[in-house]
């Protein structure tokens, strides 16, 4: 296979680079060892920062966030809910920090408005009655899955750029300072292949240093795991931030019909080992309850975590390292067609993509400017099912009594599953439950896939999409994956739900006993 540019990593940055390059007429292949947004782009708050979070300790990152926030609200409004945000302090919080805050905002160019704590509590009634200060900022929430899927869809529409899912880079063939070939492996089948590209871009998030090392280039990174919690219901209209230096359990972000509470910052030795823990969940809940007391009793449906790919300039923990990004041209490693980009924020992904694409185009001799600062991101119909709350609206609007509701929590009908399979057929010929879950709200409601996973599997068998005991393996994988996030959030009502789920999956269906290679239980 051949392409102009091979991009490693299909997160917001990788797909953003593909779109930026495609807008300049460049063909790209994006290769991803998992699926779209498998790393930090899928494991974050979904917060489009106003910049207010960083004004106290990182003026540059705050300024970048502010500028990109304005751009994305204008150019990709379908991915953004412009809900606004508050920074609030409660009794006991640092009074100097509170007093200094507007000044820091002014210095970073981040607009802020002081509001009366009573008014803030009127705006968001769940706020603590111990509120002593409140500021309004331009935070918003953003759907990172829709964003990356639409970036990719646009790149495909413009230059036929493609995405290779479940395809990992295992080596580079280097000749005379150039990567002449990239060795790949399909992480599902083990099948090996290679690809030739004029330029290679490493946007592998928390794995950027490993990919660079394969080419003999050195990047020093810090992996900071952040765990977040998903509430059963949306708790506020706006983003709510704790007005204090960035810490645990400080932000509650609305995500359509739910809210996301987070996050922790735990340095881990290996990004492959990231997993939300009970201890982090407890910290988030107890800290969050300081600004919103009902976070203590609310129902959480799951937790998840992402790994911040932080560029460590020596020393410092995860909180103190800059949220700015770094672009490496790797010329010091004697490579002329390889670059890496890492660090940054979801909010600044477009800027990272633009700067990276600028470097790539300089090397390609392409003189066209970046258009992502002015060109709106087109809405792709294949992505509509990822939007929280959209499926119920569509289902109600075109309700056809023969269209079974396979997911009752999020109201995803059978027709949606069929549409996703149809529109993504060339992208994933083997429609596993996980791929469907990523492209719809399946598995994201209060039952966390316990029931819809079984119903969708039955539907896929009925349609002939599944036709062997491998379907049972796919069911197992789906439930395993959903459990990963539920495990640390199982108490109160969600624990009851989990007991029912396991009674169904193991008690009735015996999925823990399934071994498709050893059919002796039948014989």
């Amino acid at each position: 296979m051949q392409t102009d540019v091979l991009i490693i990593g299909a997160g917001a940055t990788g797909t953003g680079i593909a779109r930026d390059l495609a807008l300049r007429g460049v063909h790209c292949v994006v290769t991803e060892s998992g699926d779209i947004n498998a790393g930090a782009s899928g494991g974050n708050h979904g917060l489009l920062h106003s910049g207010g979070r960083y004004v106290s300790n990182d003026t540059e990152a705050a300024r970048e966030c502010h500028e990109e926030n304005l751009l994305l609200k204008r150019l990709a409004p379908q991915c953004v809910e412009d809900c606004g945000g508050l920074f609030v302090a409660v009794q006991g919080d640092d009074e100097n920090f509170i007093a200094d805050y507007p000044g820091w905002c002014a210095k970073a160019g981040v607009p802020v408005k002081t509001i009366d704590p009573d008014l803030a509590r009127e705006m968001e009634p769940v706020l603590s009655d111990k509120l002593i200060a409140a500021y309004e900022v331009a935070d918003a929430s953003i759907d990172p899955f829709k964003l990356s899927l639409e970036n990719m869809a646009h790149a495909k529409a413009l230059t036929g750029s493609t995405l290779l899912r479940r395809t990992a880079v295992i080596g580079f063939d280097i000749e005379a300072g150039r990567i002449v070939r990239v060795q790949l492996v399909n992480t599902v089948t083990g099948e090996k292949s290679s690809i030739e590209a004029t330029q290679i871009v490493n946007a592998a998030g928390a794995w950027t240093d490993r990919v660079a090392a394969m080419a003999g280039a050195d990047i020093s990174m810090l992996y900071s795991q952040g765990t977040l919690l998903v509430t059963h219901e949306r708790m506020t209209d706006r983003v709510v931030n704790r007005l204090r230096p960035p810490g645990d359990g400080d932000i509650l972000v609305p995500g359509g019909t739910v809210s996301i509470l987070g996050t922790t910052s735990v340095t881990i030795p290996n990004p492959d080992l990231a997993r939300p823990t009970v201890a982090e969940v407890d910290v988030n809940v107890r800290q969050g309850a300081g600004m919103i007391p009902s976070l203590m009793d609310t129902r959480y449906v799951r937790a998840y975590c992402g790994v911040r790919p932080l560029i460590s300039a020596g020393g410092g923990d995860g909180r103190s390292v800059s949220r700015g990004f770094a672009l490496f041209d790797h010329e010091d490693a004697n490579l002329s067609n390889f670059c890496s980009v890492a660090g940054g924020k979801l909010t600044t992904f477009r800027m990272m993509a633009e700067k990276t694409a600028d470097l790539v185009c300089r090397r390609l001799g392409n003189t066209k400017p970046s258009l992502t600062v002015s060109e709106p991101l087109p809405e792709a119909s294949a992505c509509e099912w990822t939007e929280p709350g959209r499926a119920p609206k569509l289902w109600a609007a075109r309700h056809d009594s023969g269209d079974e509701l396979l997911c009752e929590c999020e109201m995803v009908p059978a027709s949606a599953v069929d549409e996703i399979i149809h529109s993504c057929r060339d992208e994933f010929p083997d429609p596993g439950l996980q791929a469907l879950g990523k492209r719809s709200r399946i598995g994201k409601g209060s039952c966390q896939g316990a029931f819809c996973g079984v119903r969708v599997a039955a539907h896929l068998y009925e349609n002939g999409q599944m036709d062997s005991r491998q379907g049972l393996v796919k069911m197992r994988e789906f439930f395993e994956e959903r459990f990963k996030g539920q495990r640390p959030a199982l108490w109160n009502a969600q624990l009851v739900q989990a007991e029912l789920a396991e009674a169904l999956h193991c008690g009735l269906l015996g999925l823990e006993l399934v071994n498709p290679d050893d059919p002796q239980e039948v014989e």
């Binding site: 108490w491 396991e502 009735l508």
Partner: protein
Amino acid sequence: MTPSTNLTCDLAIVGTGIAGMAAAVFARKQGLSVVQAGSTGAISYTSGVFDVLGAIPASGKDDGIRTIHQPFAGIPALLEAFPGHPYGKISPEDIRCAFHDLIEFLRYAGVSYQAGSDRNYRVISPAGTLKHTWCVPKTVLPGCIALEEKTPTLILGFKGLKGFSARQVVANLKEFWPGLRAERIEFPGFESGELYTEQLARTLETPDARQRLAEAIAPLLSDARAVGMPAVMGMHRPIKVAQDLAMRLGVPVFEVPTMPPGVPGIRLKEAFEDKLPEIGVDLFCQQQISGTIPASDSPFTLRITGQPVEREVRANHVLLASGRFLGGGLAGSLDGIAETVFDLDVVQPETRSNWYQVDYFDPRGHAIHTTGLQTDDKFRPLDENNAPVHPRLFAAGSILAHQDWIRMKCGAGVAIATAYAAVEAIAKP
């Protein structure tokens, strides 16, 4: 509010799941007066088949799960791996006696069951996996026999009934059962829209509906010598519905259990709710029951709260059969697991981090399912000094510690057998 009605009884049963219902049957057989109350209960979420023992979870992470084909012969191995399992306090003969008495009552209530001899039956699940279980509704039994004999069989699905695919059942079993086929039909009278098993079951109570269903199936029979379908064959006289359909088709028909809440569970709930009052149980469903532990020489004073009238119950004995988290007998909070009625001691891991293994399908199962009440040999819950909390307070069913009914496939067995043993201890102290 002042209680408007006072009740006295020999035994108050807290809980309306399988354990509580079975205990009521056994206690009435012993001549005890019984008041029973509980919240919604998980009974309609049961599969309808009664497991005694189907598997022994792994002891180490790399061990496998042992599938058990002979449940009674397997109990010593279970006790070796899980020494505190409630089966250690009851003999296999008593487990059989308990099942016998309950099956007799259920037959009287219109729901017929068949217990295995020494071996488990293998029941087809809606996913096309096999469930190893000891006692099955007679409407399920012909499917176990058809599987055993590899009879050419038609599995039938209904358009609009989600969560059940005949093609899925066949895809997962056809390799070993070559004569298995799948068809999907419109259920007569329900040609469009979503179907619900409960609604279909009630429909099939009428001969007319059965005739129309048989007419729809007949052209698809071909060489099939048995027909399996989702569990919808009637609510109150399922065996009559099954026999009638079989007669019209000329081949045995059988049920495949469906996702919860399914018809076999609802049948049990309705059978108990209809017939327990007939045998003299004062049954209060959908009610909360609360109380405190009295001095050891005093009777219990319990309060049944709910609509429309509150009642005070004076009981000489109490049997706690309130279930686990789904049933409401246990509650898990950020700080730990508590028993919800009397705040009894719960055997549990040190921290919440240890409730669950990292992997969902870990062959060892999850520690949270073996949490619960520790009891003496008479099934009386123990306090922190290992002494009975009260000489006349007993516990039965899934609230007991050291059993994992989900992974061991021993839910009905533990419920029925421990209810039996506790009632024996109450009736013959």
